[in-house]
């Protein structure tokens, strides 16, 4: 239901400055889980800001559900594409956790029981249900970040875009984010995440898009993206495949981006050998 299509997209922030995006073609089908990886400044954030109209293409075209994102208003696109920014302190303004989470869905016109249900579900998913009346600034940084996630989750948009969702989270926090991604997918929503955490990427997403200098340089399943053949491409953008991929290659098991896939490979090899 919510396909995103990017064709020949280029973006230049200021006249004469570098091309932050330099010809991106990408098609994301409804319900996909896509990770965007690459160095800072490679254009990941610039790309996703085109999905909800915060940035307009300098060249090329972005369509969401067939509608041209370049001409739809941000307010309209916000009901289709929810974008969680990296720094929660750039959006929190309410005196209480619950009203902060209500802000987005209210803007989309949700009221009454529908609003309450969406907010409660989002707070549950992020583990903030006991904190409804807490002042957000009395929460620690990592929980403020989960609050920002909840505040967009509650908008129940068909597409969810997360910018660095695991930064500053401990092991439990990363598990929560992973669970949020999983349940959003189960509801048929599209999830796109920018991340530097290769293990989180390999274990949580079904597709990995690697960007470098404003272009897509790799696009495939984690198995394809983290294959040995692509090691140099990844290294050129200062990324390293997860350890399991390296070990798998050394043991001649092909591409094994996750621990589970590595063990499967080993078992198959041991059984066969």
């Amino acid at each position: 239901m919510a396909d995103i299509a990017v064709e020949g997209l280029a973006h230049v922030y200021r006249e004469g400055s570098v091309r932050a995006l330099d010809g991106v073609d990408l098609r994301i089908v409804a319900g996909e889980r896509v990770a965007l990886i690459g160095q800072n400044g490679s254009g990941k954030t610039t790309l996703v800001r085109h999905f909800n109209g915060l940035l307009r293409p300098t060249e090329g075209r972005v369509t969401v559900d067939g509608g041209d994102a370049g001409s739809l208003t941000v307010a309209h696109l916000a009901s289709r594409v929810g974008l969680v920014f990296q720094d929660p302190d750039r959006q929190i303004f309410s005196g209480a956790v619950r009203s902060e989470v209500e802000f987005g869905p209210r803007n989309l016109g949700r009221r009454g029981a529908e609003l309450a249900a969406a907010v409660t579900a989002a707070l549950d998913a992020t583990g903030l249900s006991g904190e409804e009346r807490t002042n957000p600034y009395d929460l620690g940084q990592s929980r403020r970040k989960l609050l920002a996630l909840a505040s967009v989750l509650a908008m129940r948009t068909p597409v969810l875009v997360l910018d660095e969702p695991t930064t500053g989270q401990d092991a439990r926090g990363v598990e929560r984010v992973r669970a949020v991604v999983a349940s959003a997918t189960a509801e048929g929503r599209t999830v796109i995440a920018i991340s530097h955490d290769m293990r989180f990427v390999a274990e949580t997403f079904e597709r990995v898009v690697v960007m470098r200098a404003g272009r897509v340089v790799l696009d495939g399943t984690p198995t394809e993206a983290f294959a040995e053949a692509n090691r140099e491409v990844l290294r050129s953008t200062f990324l390293e495949p997860p350890l399991s991929a390296t070990v798998g290659h050394r043991l001649g098991l092909g591409s094994t981006p996750t621990d589970a896939s590595l063990l499967d490979g080993l078992r198959a090899k041991l059984a066969g050998g």
């Binding site: 800072n40 500053g168 401990d170 439990r172 290769m198 200062f238 350890l243 050394r250």
Partner: protein, 269 residues
């Protein structure tokens, strides 16, 4: 040359419960001690207490003793401690002084504050820039650098004070892999050159790489303390909110699946 915490407890102003209890910790010369633990387990608080910022800057109440080279520092003012212990934080941007137009002036800020002779300030600034291999950034505007570069500039600002101890609170949390690499290499190099470093990190892969000893905190108490490879291989880590390093996880998964972990071979690098 060591920083010693003995029986240290700390409670924030207005807090009912102490955030740290019964901390015994020694930071010897030329070692990196890793600090692990879940969010709100007391890692940041321990960094603040070890560096002297708590209670001097953040208020609150403390007990126990902190010794620097055997000397009790209880009565030292913050600016005196600042010449011996440097502390870095996770957000590179908030560590910039906001008054420097160039990286050179940013790094010189600390030595200027403590009123060192001008030549000494200049010498130390160049030395610190060289130690982190960022002398080529000297002329740049610190606000216009990448996060990783800013973190190195902030660290150079600490080094310019020539501290005997460095405390780093999640120095790579907000950095991309390239920035993390820069900072990790710098930590390893500084320790090799004799520095004593306490580094709090969620990224246990990084601790496995740079730390020789690891301390794990839970609810304000030290619950594990030992050689890095032993502590990081502790099966109870996940219950303490700490993700084991990739290599440990992989070995454990292999043995759980009935596969001899030796098959995996060496897992370093």
């Amino acid at each position: 040359m060591s920083l010693e915490l003995a029986g240290v407890g700390y409670r924030y102003a207005g807090a009912g419960q102490p955030s740290l209890l019964d901390i015994d910790l020694e930071l010897p010369e030329a070692t990196v001690v890793g600090l692990a633990g879940a969010s709100e387990s007391g890692k940041t608080t321990l960094c603040l207490v070890a560096s002297g910022l708590a209670p001097r800057t953040v208020g609150g109440r403390i007990r126990g003793t902190i010794r620097l080279d055997g000397e009790d520092v209880d009565a030292w003012p913050m600016h005196r401690l600042a010449e011996r212990i440097g502390i870095g934080f996770q957000n590179p941007a908030t560590q910039l002084s906001q008054v420097a137009d160039t990286v050179f002036e940013e790094v010189a800020f600390g030595p200027m504050n403590v009123g060192l002779p001008r030549d000494e300030v200049i010498q130390r600034t160049w030395d610190a820039l060289d130690a982190l291999r960022i002398a080529d950034l000297a002329e740049r505007d610190p606000r216009r650098l990448s996060g990783g570069q800013q973190q190195l500039v902030a660290t150079a600002g600490l080094l310019a004070m020539r501290p005997t101890h460095l405390v780093l609170d999640e120095p790579t949390a907000q950095l991309d892999p390239a920035g993390t690499r820069l900072v990790a290499d710098a930590i390893a190099r500084l320790a090799a050159a004799g520095a004593s470093i306490l580094v709090a990190e969620q990224k246990t892969d990084l601790l496995a790489e740079v730390a020789s000893r690891v301390v794990v905190l839970d609810a304000g108490r030290i619950v594990r303390d030992g050689p890095a490879d032993e502590v990081l291989a502790d099966p109870a880590l996940p219950e303490l909110g700490v993700a084991p390093p990739s290599a440990v996880r992989l070995r454990r998964a292999a043995s759980a699946a009935g596969i001899d972990e030796a098959v995996l071979g060496t897992l370093d690098g």
